[in-house]
Symmetry: C2
Subunit: 278 residues, 2 copies
């Protein structure tokens, strides 16, 4: 499979994204779901190995940011793909409505605490971008405040990158029609009723506002060291395959290597022989 | 499979454990490895469902403590069994040599920060018990200090249990011979060389001291609300099966239930129909 998922879905730094112009239902190089799912399971296998090497190497780290409209599949992507890595080297952080303590700090405070240490991977389920998305669309702070945050975010991400953190930012792109289908499924399946929220329909009405807010994010906060990807997500299996491939390719590029042995092998062999002889 | 793993491996509160008298190579109800592995994969499937319910319920939490001699398989158990749960509801915390900040607090400070919130599961890879194990055996603090910690630990665990946290504590029991086998494997496989540490052989020499320290822990810190289990771990597949079964049975007993719907279904259906009609 020599399809280049990175180049296919990375947001250009040259021209403004028009989300409406991006097909959310593509199948990429795959003929059908089975082919895509098989590809994903191989990619996950390789991801596990790469993560192990990243952990043992202990020099670089990886930050994966997930943003999306409601029901676009952040949870599913974590469950099926990203959460398949060893939890000892990979942590998920959900960012919800800020708590009282979080609100008493700047908007990057809670984010900074969750960034990955060397050898580690952090997955952000929502992120600091909410502070220029929902906060903007719902008018939670004055424009004067949120409009300054793009540059603060860029500075912050540059700081992380400078210390050896690779940053991947994924927008899961679904159509309003697909979202409505998934809302219907939540209504039809009693075990999904706990997810129901009248607020979902409110946010839906502001779809064009959110689209504009996301397009501004892609325009203002898209750097070589912290690129955005728009992942067509109407098909869950394609979403999984594309993200798995992009994370895999990025980690291949990071090329973590097992550190040189800093112990005396001869000495350890002697200790072993001694213990075995007892 | 009506084998009762809980009763088989739980540490009695009535009489002192003699670790040497416990067979570390048992196969329980299984005829062979294949049977055990199949059992484990079914148990993990059920664990995933139970964890989902625990998360959605949002009322109880679960704390899993892992302690073991080196090479007994804590990491493997996390990779193969416990880490298979959804990382959004389940976090792993490795406790290593305390950092400078951690040392400037009491020994339970770093532990308390890692206890599970409601709906969540915490897995401790090593734990507060190191402060009455390695600290005692290596004579890192005076007996006067560590000997008071058993009661402090009991009070601390009672506090957690009182708030709705179930606590399971696993000791992975391997024989010195099996440990030596695994040390040899680390020598033989270059990709495991990074795990080599001459200190392992030092700790091995103190095996009887560690055994005594563990037996004291089982004697002093084994409560109905926070029981210890001694898991025969010479066979990795049996270790996995037994722990999976005990966690599963505990979560069955916790019986997390989906919360009642607190939204107006008729209203949501109206909102859906309205959106679908547009």
């Amino acid at each position: 499979m020599d399809f280049d998922f990175v180049n296919q879905h990375i947001v250009s730094t040259k021209k403004r994204v028009q989300l409406e112009a991006i097909d959310s239902k593509v199948m990429g190089p795959f003929r059908d779901k089975e082919e895509g799912t098989l590809f994903t399971s191989h990619a996950i296998e390789e991801l596990r190995n790469l993560q192990y090497r990243l952990f043992v190497e202990g020099k670089q780290s990886l930050l994966i940011v997930l943003q999306a409209p409601d029901a676009a599949g952040k949870d599913g992507l974590i469950r099926k793909v990203l959460g398949q890595m060893n939890p000892q080297g990979c942590r998920t952080y959900p960012f919800k409505v800020p708590t009282a303590i979080e609100r008493s700090h700047d908007f990057l405070w809670r984010i900074h605490r969750a960034t990955p240490a060397t050898g580690m991977i952090s997955i952000f389920n929502r992120s600091h971008y909410e502070d220029v998305l929902v906060v903007r669309v719902e008018d939670l702070v004055p424009k004067e405040l949120w409009s300054q945050r793009y540059e603060m975010i860029n500075q912050f991400e540059a700081l992380l990158a400078h210390r050896g953190t690779r940053i991947l930012k994924f927008y899961l792109h679904i159509s309003p029609e697909e979202q409505l289908e998934r809302f219907k499924e939540r209504l039809d399946l009693p075990e999904k009723h706990w997810k129901l929220n009248p607020g979902d329909y409110e946010a839906r009405k502001r779809w064009p506002d959110y689209r504009k807010a996301y397009e501004d994010v892609f325009d203002k906060c898209n750097k070589k060291h912290a690129p955005w990807f728009v992942i067509p997500s109407d098909r869950k299996w394609y979403r999984n395959a594309a993200v798995a491939a992009i994370v895999r390719d990025t980690m291949r590029d990071m090329d973590p290597s097992m550190p040189p042995i800093d112990v005396d092998l001869t000495e350890i062999r002697r200790l072993y022989e001694q213990a075995a002889g007892e």
